[in-house]
């Protein structure tokens, strides 16, 4: 069964450093998403991406965040200068059409020290 994959599974970084989180969505999917989950809290929407551009972003997704689909398979989330409060699980999701549900990857646990 096809699934969304994410790398790395864990990332530890120093405050102020740049991180890139990687996702490989399900291969025939067209809509891509990033969500995050701070420990013990609910999952929060960050950004959606379709047709090589951002469709929607939340207020969390400020200028420090960017997304890119550099090739036909990868979808990345970059945080330019990490802050302590960026520590969270980051989930990538994808869907093929507007009638299908979103499928989530296993997540990357980011810890900013």
């Amino acid at each position: 069964e096809p699934e969304v994959t994410q790398t790395p599974s864990h990332q530890v970084t120093q405050m102020g450093q740049e991180v890139i989180l990687r996702c490989v969505p399900i291969s025939n999917h067209l809509y891509f998403y990033w969500y995050r989950q701070i420990l013990g809290q609910k999952v929060e929407f960050l950004v959606s991406f379709y047709n090589n551009e951002i469709s929607e972003k939340s207020e969390i997704f400020d200028d420090q965040f960017s997304v890119e689909r550099p090739d036909g398979s990868n979808f990345t989330l970059k945080i330019r200068s990490t802050k302590l409060e960026d520590s969270a699980m980051y989930f990538c999701a994808s869907t093929g059409t507007e009638q299908e549900t979103q499928y989530f990857g296993p997540g990357t646990r980011l810890l900013v020290l």
Binding site: V4, K42, V43, S48, T95, E98, T101, Q102, Y103, P106
Partner: protein, 113 residues
């Protein structure tokens, strides 16, 4: 406003019994609802969904009920098993399943042997 909330943060059920997890939503514009299961350290896993033109949908051992009049959603798990232990999130989309998912705060289901 947009919000999806859960009535109970924790639910303890005897193995073999049925589980019922409830959820309230506040946005009348929501037209697609999803239940996700999240096990420790993993991403949200799709369980079942329902569109606003339905009031009941059944899957394997799971049933989702939607009451649009009182903006209430429930997930019923039949013959609960130890593997059902997880946090369950109700979630909603507005307008299409390709738009952002708004998650509720989650209910932790624990199974007593």
């Amino acid at each position: 406003g947009e919000s999806v909330g859960l009535h109970l943060p924790t639910l303890s059920v005897q193995e073999g019994d049925n589980s019922i997890i409830n959820c309230a939503y506040s946005n009348s514009a929501s037209d697609y609802f999803i239940w996700y299961k999240q096990e420790s350290g993993k991403g949200p896993q799709f369980i079942i969904d329902i569109r606003s033109n339905m009031d009941k949908r059944q899957g394997q051992r799971v049933t989702v009920l939607l009451n649009k009049t009182v903006k209430h959603l429930s997930l019923q798990i039949a013959a609960t098993q130890p593997g059902d232990s997880a946090v369950y999130f109700c979630a909603e989309n507005i307008h299409s399943s390709a738009s952002k998912i708004i998650f509720g705060s989650g209910t932790r289901l624990s199974i007593r042997p």
